[in-house]
């Protein structure tokens, strides 16, 4: 959904020279990447590193969705925001920082909450979606919307000293609902405001999300369809595990889907699509 790029400018060749000389990537990979659009949902600890590395690599268009404004307690992990932007829109803040690094990318900030009403319209304009959100309801919403729109979903999450990464709905692999047909009980769900997080953990997972999006966009393909990366920062270990295949019985991506349009995900999950309430409780 970006106009295909058929040649690189002199400026592009200089800027991207260090990746152009990689045989596995090359001029062809660069042109594909510049013809690719990526939507990042969540402008927080995962969204910041994901956005900056996609911008640096020269993605064609980068959309960033977040309804929230920058807070001081974000800055220990959300590295594209700045102290003097406390109170301004996070999606706009990310776009401003990325623009200074690479103005050759087209940026689209969305200062809104992704919902069942607007998700299909926004997602349909992008080739790849990154789940960098912080709540269960939006994760199910994004999954269903990506299945319906036929977009790969590069999903990252982080909490405390741990991170997880996988790619849903890509290369025939499973979707989020194939793995988790039922949402978790709300009392088992912890967010970063309640549970805390070491800032560089979403940094590493968000960077991995950028990597997998770059691999998909440039034609190399992802390593994480039907596989999940588990990262434990306390003991410094990474583990890659094999997941189940796509489920024929999946209500959204299966043979006879019963969920064919977006539903009420707050009701489905029994939990709000924001961590604001809990934040108030902690502060």
């Amino acid at each position: 959904s970006v106009d295909p790029v058929s040649r690189l400018s002199k400026n592009d060749i200089e800027r991207y020279s260090r990746q152009l000389i990689l045989p596995e990537f090359g001029v062809k990979g660069q042109m594909k990447l510049q013809s690719t659009s990526v939507l990042i949902v969540g402008a927080g600890g995962l969204g910041c590193p994901a956005a900056v590395y996609l911008a640096a690599a020269g993605i064609g268009r980068l959309g960033v969705v977040d309804y929230d404004e920058v807070e001081l307690s974000n800055l220990h992990r959300q590295i594209l925001h700045t102290s003097d932007r406390v109170g301004i829109s996070k999606s706009l803040s990310i776009v401003r920082s990325c623009q200074r690094l690479n103005s050759r990318v087209e940026y689209v900030p969305y200062h809104l909450q992704l919902s069942s009403d607007n998700a299909m319209d926004i997602i349909s304009r992008y080739d790849i979606v990154l789940d960098a959100t912080d709540n269960v309801a939006t994760r199910y919403l994004l999954n269903d919307a990506c299945v319906m729109a036929g977009k790969p979903l590069v999903s990252g999450s982080a909490l405390r000293f741990e991170g997880q990464l996988t790619v849903y709905n890509c290369s025939g692999g499973p979707c989020y609902r194939c793995l988790f047909p039922q949402p978790p009980p709300p009392e088992t769900v912890t967010n970063c405001a309640e549970g805390g997080v070491i800032g560089v953990v979403p940094g590493i997972i968000g960077s991995m999300q950028a990597l997998e999006a770059i691999k998909i966009g440039s034609g190399i393909g992802t390593s994480y369809s039907q596989r999940m990366l588990l990262f434990d920062a306390l003991d410094g270990t990474f583990r890659c595990v094999k997941l189940r295949p796509r489920s024929q019985a999946c209500v959204v991506c299966g043979e006879q889907p019963t969920v064919t349009q977006l539903i009420d995900y707050v009701q489905f999950c029994g939990a709000a699509a924001t961590d604001k309430e809990q934040e108030l409780k902690v502060l």
Binding site: R139, Q164, E187, R244
Partner: protein, 98 residues
């Protein structure tokens, strides 16, 4: 005795006194040890609080992923899988933060 390793992560370890790795020896029994038996054994011997956040009915609660030797338990037979010596069985609570 059947020596195996049971691990908890993603927050599931908070139900077991914040201990992630448990080297355990399952006692001899007449029938083969299946995952269905292990779940009950874990609830009785490892889980220290709020067992309802681990087991619901006879299986793990929604949101916990079970891995048998680094593979999703659905690939291995789920509750019916027969546990082998030195198996590593991991219970991961999926994360949602970002």
């Amino acid at each position: 005795m059947l020596p195996i390793t049971v691990e908890f992560s993603g927050g599931a370890e908070l139900l077991c006194g914040n201990v992630k790795k448990h080297d355990v020896e399952l006692p001899k029994q007449d029938t083969k040890w299946q995952i269905r038996n292990l779940l009950v054994w874990i609830k009785d011997h490892i889980i220290q609080e709020r067992p309802e956040l681990f087991l619901v009915g006879n299986t793990v609660r929604p949101g916990i992923l079970v891995l048998i030797n680094d593979a999703d338990w659905e690939l291995m037979g789920e509750l019916d899988y027969e546990i082998q010596e030195k198996d590593r069985i991991v219970f991961i609570s999926t994360l949602h933060g970002g």
